[in-house]
Symmetry: C2
Subunit: 149 residues, 2 copies
């Protein structure tokens, strides 16, 4: 089991250049996690982790998060089968965010809408209007997977 | 000037599948921004945007954020010269996060420590110990650039 994390140092150089894992959890006890595909760096989703989710992710090599909507520990993919196997975990300079490089099992989809990435809409400007345009299709039918959504 | 954004719909399908930009700003008036390099998808940093920063980014094509530490609008790179030219802006499913694909000018460094990415440390397990290991070097000397840090 991963030992408890260190308390973040007040010394900025220790926090930014040190080897200790000392996550700066926010007032809700969370840090932000960016999730990218190991194969091509495609950014798949953004989520949050509490202390337990971060430790479980490090220990098991399978991504765990904290679901803010359900206020519960969340083993991503437990329902859909699209588990995230973690190849690498990186911390940012001030240790309030992590980057996970993962391989997604199941249907290779991360978004609950069935798409590979949650970032499936881009900002476009047409005829003086700024709007969103979807440029990827679902890989699975969410209705057939999630019965409680 | 980009018109004001729409109020997020209570209808999940409109929020997730619609073409309206309706950011779900949090209690602090912020959404999260993930920033990746257009060239190779390298994840460079994580930051936050308020309404004004998001509009300025869409309008000017140069990344603007809200600095939570300084409580001020932040045109990234204004001091260091490492401006971020925005090639693409993507919204996630529930519109509380954006992904920016950018080209970084100046010394091609995004982190205030002088490194290309803020995620310059990875989690390693050695001799039963879990710690951080730095695997990239600064591209510029922060001391020569930031006089107020």
């Amino acid at each position: 089991m991963t030992p408890s994390f260190k308390t973040p140092s007040d010394d900025k150089s220790v926090l930014e250049e040190g080897t200790d894992i000392s996550p700066r959890f926010d007032a809700m006890g969370l840090i932000t996690a960016v999730v990218a595909d190991s194969r091509d760096n495609e950014i798949l989703m953004l989520a949050h982790m509490n202390d337990e989710a971060l430790r479980l992710t490090i220990d098991t090599g399978i991504a765990h998060y904290w679901s803010r909507s359900r206020s519960a520990l969340w083993k991503k993919g437990e329902t859909s089968g699209n588990l995230q196997m973690v190849d690498e975990i990186r911390f940012d300079c001030d240790q309030d965010a992590v980057l996970l490089k993962v391989r997604v099992s199941g249907s290779d989809a991360t978004c609950h809408t069935g798409r590979r990435s949650c970032f499936y809409r881009k900002v476009v400007k047409t005829d003086g209007e700024t709007r969103l345009e979807t440029d990827s299709a679902p890989l699975f039918d969410p209705k057939s997977v999630y019965t409680d959504h």
